[in-house]
Symmetry: C2
Subunit: 375 residues, 2 copies
């Protein structure tokens, strides 16, 4: 795999793209502490939290016969790309946007071993007028239903407020909450099963998914043809490629369970790119000896943002949307199960005893213990 060409214009960092985590992080820490303090409330109901789920992708409560998992997740700024592309092409992209929103919640919920059961829709528009575009509204509804059906969840209901003065006129703030069960309880995959020798299986992404869109939007400002810039020999536009809907991974985790393959740990590769492979709290070395093909849209972004591989793999998914850690003996079979669900996969490497680090050997990259600070 070749390194990116040097950029023509100055490099563009994630921070320059508009999100200042230094301002948000103190609140996050405060909120995490306050949230942790409320766990004792469950005792009054005869239940208890699964403490290892604090700081993980979904919150898990032991309710006796099974574990209850829940989550709320935001789409982020991908809808802004859909809105711009709609102006340029006259098409509505909200069917895909609906899938993206559900994927944000479902792909996180399954990391703990839960089967997603119910999704609630949160669609907060900048005013009643948003809903007057019937084609767009219908696309959102149709896409939401299809994604629920693909994930075998019931769409329970939701909220469709018109929030003039809070949400910007003509825009919509999309989020999804998801509730599921870890059932039977042995499916819990909060990390206690991960061990040296386990294989790392990477499931293919469909493109940028819904993380890194701020960077993509900033980058677009630099392109003379903007979202209509062709990114491959077929003439696919940048904006169109960005809007490929996020892959839904719950069909794979459910099929693995059906096939008798235990997932030891799982990581949804989102905002911190491949650094998410370091998510498990233990001290292990993750050695990668094969990397998946990089979607054209991500290679294009890497080149035009002037990112070296280190920066690209620490920000974007670079072709790997979800990581599964399974016993070495199950690895090839897990790949087969994923492919049966229409999602490409590779056995990418293995977990080893040793220093906490991620080694991506084909690219000579190393990420150390300090690369991911989520907790």
């Amino acid at each position: 795999m070749s390194r990116s060409a040097p950029p023509a214009s100055p490099t563009l960092s994630y921070e320059q793209a508009g999100v200042d985590y230094a301002l948000i992080d103190p609140l996050k820490v405060l909120a995490q502490r306050a949230a942790a303090a409320t766990a004792t409330q469950l005792a009054g109901h005869g239940f208890s939290e699964v403490k290892a789920s604090r700081g993980e992708s979904a919150y898990v409560v032991d309710v006796g016969p099974f574990y209850l998992a829940s989550i709320v997740e935001c789409l982020g700024s991908k809808a802004l790309v859909a809105d711009e592309m709609a102006k340029l092409t006259g098409r509505s992209y909200y069917e895909g946007i609906a899938q993206d929103t559900i994927a944000m919640a479902v792909n996180d919920l399954i990391t703990v071993g839960a089967t997603p059961l119910v999704v609630q829709a949160y669609w907060a528009a900048g005013g009643s007028e948003w809903f007057a575009d019937a084609a767009r509204a219908q696309a959102l509804v149709a896409g939401w239903q299809q994604a629920c059906e693909r994930c075998k969840v019931a769409w329970g209901g939701g909220e469709t407020p018109a929030l003039a003065g809070i949400v910007e006129a003509g825009r919509i703030d999309l989020a999804a909450s998801c509730t599921g069960l870890v059932n039977p309880k042995e499916r819990l995959s909060l990390g206690e099963k991960l061990a040296p020798g386990d294989a790392i299986v990477l499931l293919a992404s469909s493109g940028i998914h819904a993380n890194g869109l701020s960077l993509a939007r900033k980058l677009t400002e630099r392109l003379p043809q903007g979202y209509l810039t062709p990114i491959d020999a077929l003439g696919t536009h940048f904006g169109q490629a960005l809007l490929a809907p996020t892959t839904l991974y719950s069909p794979v985790t459910e099929a693995l369970w059906q096939a008798g393959i235990a997932v030891h740990y799982a990581a949804n590769i989102t905002g911190h790119g491949w650094r998410k492979l370091l998510r498990h709290p233990g001290r292990y070395t993750y050695r990668i000896d094969a990397v998946p093909a990089v979607p054209s849209v991500l290679r294009f972004m890497q080149t035009h943002a002037g990112h070296d591989d280190h920066e690209a793999y620490s920000t974007l998914n670079m072709g790997a949307g979800f990581a599964l850690f399974v016993a070495q003996a199950d690895a090839e079979r897990a790949v087969g199960v994923a492919r049966e669900q229409g999602i490409d996969a590779i056995v990418a490497g293995r977990v080893e005893a040793g220093e906490k680090q991620l080694l991506i050997e084909p690219l000579a990259l190393r990420f150390g213990d300090d690369a991911l600070q989520l907790r």
Copy 2:
């Protein structure tokens, strides 16, 4: 109770206050149909939806040993009032705003008989800068924690995205998701237990709660002193009174269960005022012979919006935040249980066989079958 004084200025309807349901409703109908179609997905997991929960305040799934209830709810525009008042007084009102947001979810979830267990926070800011106001951010966190503790729920986590371009600069879009269990299953209160002869117990509201704020904001524009207009002999400001946090009713429903009092049905009195008493799908007459004291802030709004009692009771809670339907023999005891939890209550009337209507006899008001169209 006296009728309102005639208004000095033209009356102000809910529609004039900025929400055009004619534009939202077609999407809602479409979404409800699509959502209902996904219910069959649960069969693949060995579960099934409780069909009577479709269109009710929370969605309920039968998972075997108990029912699972879930919901996502939006605060609405109350944060805009907090923002204006902060400018005028230099205080932060986000502790109360946090309680309001949780109340929106919890007070709906308990109507089906569920015990709330986990709340997730959805705090979408207009940019990272929102979180730079440490006092405001701390108030939001502190209020969220306190409300969770009051409701005996665990705060599982949540999302704090910075959504520049979607949420307006300096604003925050607040929502909460809540998951609970109906446990034991006999606590389910989706309406099958309601019967003629049941008593109607009304729990006191703390003020406007979080519904009717668009009307309040519009009204403020007409007042020469705006939010700083005194509304009572103590000189309480209109804005301050509007920001009284919404009462959390789950301590009452939990205490009723502990006291052995079965709730036959429950209605959270929100956006449609007392018309919510007509929520049950059956054909019953709801005869009210006692009304609770009207909070000054609501009487003030009624007067200044030029609403007659019919319009006021069909829009605002007018002192009744939550309705419980219990056996006549349990009614006085239910009032006592609520008061022990610090929430005033009255036995307000009874359910009778007959035409579907709500009769508020002390005010000579009648609302017919056509007054509430929620499904």
